[in-house]
């Protein structure tokens, strides 16, 4: 999900790397398309049952932060539990779990375009886009709802009949994670031409996240990563855990490196590894009462983000590191920061 827009970013990433101290030259090289272009978009899911989900914007150089982006731009609360955000070339899709809706906004201005509320959108979780279509997984209806992005018309619903979480639509297939909250070890494969389930893949137990990179689907679970070739839909290998490493989660692949967390520590291993390293890149060293466990974790644009959600009882603090694990900054965001994306 994050990877395919990142792929297009290599040029910009290299610019920011060189120019992180000299913002002016970046402005000359590229004219921002809106207030929220070229920066990090933070999704703060909010408290369940309260309309206090929010979006924060952090500038690429981390110097400025704008909280409550959606309500500032649209004069309305965004909704109840912002589970995830999906981007395409023009829009950001805000998946609002307990509001049973998807808010579509201009991704550069965050002005609302429309709201998707088809009745099968029941406790939506994640989404992906491909070839002008939006695919949304729904926990209650256990289905994937498909919209046509050109006119935001509802197309169809595919019943999966079991837990659905993250979704990756790539080439001819969609891959749906049938595992949530630490249990489950399957991925459903749906053929995009017929919208029918063609296969169920088996991974290790406790499947928690997945990402596609260079034709391989990486599925992270309690005992490692299962690798799947997406041209054949066959399991082609397993990356195991080294030494003391336990229950890795929040897989994020960036620049041929696999990043993940276990407890309060952040780890990385080359994508070619056969074992995941048990030596932390950095330990966020949480104070005891805040139980800092990386509810939100992301590696974007050469920055590592680790969110302390403070038990959802106050605004989160996001800790930012560089790729070597050097601490750069802590930034106050909203309630329950669950992910960080780079907007370009």
């Amino acid at each position: 999900m994050k990877n395919h827009f990142l792929k297009t970013l290599l040029f910009l990433i290299s610019i920011t790397l060189f120019l992180s101290c000299e913002k002016n030259e970046l402005d000359e090289a590229y004219i921002a398309k809106g207030a929220y272009d070229l920066g990090f978009i933070v999704s703060n899911e909010g408290n369940f049952g309260s309309p206090n989900a929010s979006i924060s914007f952090i500038s690429a150089d981390l110097s400025t932060t704008i909280n409550e982006v959606y309500s500032k731009e649209n004069n309305a609360p965004v909704g109840d539990i912002l589970q995830s955000i999906t981007f395409d070339d023009n829009y950001a899709y805000l998946i609002l779990n307990n509001s049973n809706k998807v808010e579509v906004v201009d991704k550069y201005t965050f002005k609302r375009i429309t709201t998707l509320t088809q009745e099968d959108i029941e406790l939506p979780r994640y989404a992906d886009t491909k070839d002008g279509k939006l695919y949304i997984t729904n926990a209650r209806s256990k289905s994937v709802v498909i919209y046509n992005i050109a006119d935001f018309s509802y197309e169809t619903t595919i019943d999966i009949g079991r837990a659905v979480e993250q979704i990756i639509v790539e080439d001819d297939f969609m891959y749906i994670q049938n595992a949530a909250y630490g249990s489950g070890n399957n991925i459903t494969v749906v053929d995009l031409k017929t919208n029918t389930v063609i296969k169920t893949l088996v991974t290790g137990k406790g499947l928690n996240s997945m990402e596609e990179e260079d034709g391989v689907l990486y599925a992270m679970h309690n005992t490692g990563i299962t690798k799947i070739d997406i041209s054949t839909n066959e399991v082609i290998g397993e990356i195991t855990l080294r030494g003391s490493l336990e229950k890795p989660s929040k897989l994020d692949i960036e620049d041929s490196n696999i990043y993940f967390i276990s407890g309060s520590s952040i780890y990385s291993s080359p994508i070619t590894s056969t074992e995941l390293s048990d030596i932390p890149l950095v330990n966020s060293e949480v104070v005891a009462e805040s139980w800092f466990t990386g509810y939100g974790f992301a590696v974007e644009n050469n920055r590592i983000f680790y969110a302390d959600v403070k038990g959802f009882s106050e605004n989160s603090v996001v800790l930012v590191y560089d790729l070597e694990g050097k601490f750069l900054k802590s930034i106050n965001t909203g309630i329950g920061t669950n992910n960080i994306y780079f907007n370009d």
Binding site: G49, S50, N98, N100, K101, L123, G311, E314, N315
Partner: protein, 610 residues
């Protein structure tokens, strides 16, 4: 303007009826089901009689919100409601039904909108610790729901009907009769509302907020002779609530509560000995429907407790009383998230009371549990009352109290933590009472140190686990003034109470969320011949909704005022017609963040007493 009205009300009338026990004028013999005041040496008790109870909605929330200093967090009118009593958490207030603690075994708290006040003759509120007497959660205080019996009374029948805004309907029927050694009383209550109130500054209404509930009670007492009595209490509550939503697209859910309670109580005096035995069966049952119209993916919970409470007393002299008690509680929890979890607790203790002189009385209680589920601390209560003069009394009380982990804390699949310790509280209070003519003035200071608060926090992955983490220090002041006067055909009863509460997380030095620094209530009841009038005020200061005391998300203070006018329709005054105005100032307010409460609304009622 409205604050001026409040001030005028407070200081010109300055009038308050004592929240002390109302003097019974009927020449019948009353047997109080729980002699709470007797065992509350060093503490205050606030008695709400049936007249006050009937003045409010038949849900415990509104009554206590307007009559006491307890603050209620209500998720929208009639929805889930939890208390903050003397700066404590929702699980640190004990709700006690005729002497039995009925807090939920799953949640450790009572939803105050699932208690129908129509089922009780009096409600006694006692601020402060009392775990030696009422068990777990008696830290902020206890709410005692009592049924009383009288012998040789006339046969009575009463009917009360109320109709108001948002199609709110209430009907209560009650009857009682007795002989010289037998009493039976019972009743039924029905309360329902569409609850579709308009939100302020918006074209939105409270959606999916409707509810109804039914309650039945039946109590009997039989007196073998002047020494021995047998009592039977039966109580049943069934309620269905739709949980209100803020966005039309949200899932419409509902929740069903069913509570049944049965208790047999025997008491006997044999010379200097006294025996009291209670055998009770308490059942709580909930079902959560994630969709209104289908019965799929339900969440259910059902807990049955068998309770035995035995008390053996020995009157050493007329002024010295010694008691030993032994209680047994066995609870089995079933449901979608509980696999026949069972917990047995044996509690033993001693109680000693000594009246040294007419001026000085003290008591102490010591108790402890034995159970395999948690490490049990030794609990105590020590209290003394000193009547310095006939018009001035000093009361002191210290106690150690606890809240034990709930079924959810211990057994929730994948998250329950079997290593939890109980929360404990050590507290001290000091009360001055001044009685002058028709006035009663009370001033109380208290201190409460709470350790090992159980809080659910996210741990590895997205799993939340309960842990003993926080320590809280609460310091507070309570002041109340009461006035009661009858002259000619006029009767005035009035009361005003104020609380300052500092409840600080010792780790962060921040005020606990949803604990107001300031709360003030004031009421006036006035009767002249066939006319009666009452006004009830409830002022709540600012509350924080986030643990960092973020001012942006704090809830602003508000003043709520309810008015009532009643008129007897016949000379015998057995029929009364009345009119109520709720939220007179049309205040826009929330008691829980993002959950709007109703603006001004109205009710009419008709009461028949024969």
């Amino acid at each position: 303007m409205r604050y001026i009205v409040l001030l005028v009300f407070l200081f010109s009338y300055f009038t308050v009826f004592s929240q002390e026990k109302k003097i019974q004028t009927l020449d019948t013999i009353y047997l109080k089901s729980a002699k709470i005041a007797d065992k509350s040496v060093g503490q205050k008790t606030i008695v709400l009689n049936s007249e006050i109870i009937q003045n409010q909605r038949p849900q415990l929330t509104e009554l206590l919100n307007f009559e006491t200093l307890i603050y209620f967090k209500e998720n929208g009118l009639g929805m889930v409601s939890s208390p903050s009593f003397r700066g404590t958490t929702a699980q640190q207030t004990a709700v006690v039904w005729n002497g039995i603690n009925i807090n939920s075994q799953f949640l450790g708290q009572t939803d105050f909108n699932t208690i129908s006040t129509a089922s009780f003759d009096e409600i006694v509120v006692r601020p402060g610790g009392g775990s030696t007497q009422f068990g777990t959660g008696t830290i902020g205080g206890s709410i005692n729901l009592n049924n009383n019996f009288s012998f040789r009374q006339k046969t009575k029948f009463s009917a009360h009907a109320n109709y108001g805004s948002f199609h709110t309907k209430e009907i209560t029927l009650k009857a009682s009769t007795s002989t010289s050694n037998f009493n039976i009383n019972g009743g039924v209550g029905y309360f329902a509302s569409d609850n579709d109130y308009q939100f302020a500054d918006s074209d939105k209404k409270n959606e999916n907020g409707g509810f109804y509930n039914k309650s039945i009670f039946l109590n009997t007492a039989y007196k073998f002779n002047n020494q021995q009595q047998l009592k039977l209490y039966i109580s049943f509550f069934n309620g269905l609530r739709h949980f209100s939503i803020l966005e039309t697209t949200q899932s419409r859910t509902k929740y069903k509560d069913e509570n049944s309670r049965l208790m047999l109580e025997y008491s006997g005096h044999f010379n200097q000995f006294f025996l009291n035995t209670k055998v009770a069966l308490i059942n709580e049952d909930y079902t959560y429907f994630p969709e209104l119209t289908t019965n799929t993916d339900l969440s259910t919970g059902n807990a049955t407790s068998a309770i035995l409470k035995n008390e053996l007393g020995y009157t050493i002299t007329d002024d010295i009383l010694l008691k030993a008690f032994i209680n047994y509680n066995n609870t089995v929890g079933k449901g979608t998230n509980y696999n026949n979890e069972e917990r047995a607790i044996l509690t033993t203790g001693f109680y000693f009371k000594h009246k040294i002189s007419k001026k000085f009385v003290y008591q102490f209680t010591l108790s402890g549990d034995s159970t395999s589920d948690y490490e049990s601390p030794l609990l105590f209560t020590v209290g003394a009352d000193f009547n310095a003069t006939p018009w001035y009394q000093i009361s002191v009380n210290s106690s150690k109290n606890y809240r034990i982990p709930t079924f959810n804390d211990l057994f929730w699949p994948g998250a329950g933590n079997p290593n939890l310790k109980p929360e404990t509280s050590l507290q001290h209070e000091f009360t001055n009472t001044l009685r002058l003519n028709n006035f009663t003035v009370k001033l109380t200071g208290y201190y409460n140190a709470i350790k090992d608060l159980i809080i659910w926090l996210p741990t590895s992955g997205s799993v939340w686990k309960p842990v003993n983490t926080n320590n809280v220090l609460i310091k507070g002041i309570e002041a109340s003034v009461g006035y009661h006067k009858v002259f000619g055909h006029h009767t005035i009863k009035a009361n005003a109470s104020y609380a300052y509460t500092s409840s600080e997380n010792r780790n962060t030095k921040k005020q606990l969320t949803y604990v107001p620094y300031h709360k003030l209530v004031g009421s006036l009841y006035y009767t002249y011949k066939k006319i009666n009038f009452s006004i009830n005020n409830n002022f709540r200061g600012i509350v924080f909704t986030q643990t960092d005391n973020n001012k942006k998300t704090a809830l602003n203070s508000y003043l709520l005022t309810n008015l009532k006018f009643g008129l007897a329709l016949n000379t015998k005054e057995t029929m009364q017609l009345g009119f109520k105005v709720k939220n007179t100032w049309n205040t826009k307010y929330q008691s829980v963040a993002y959950k709007p409460m109703p603006l001004r609304n109205y009710q009419i009622y008709l009461t028949l007493n024969i």
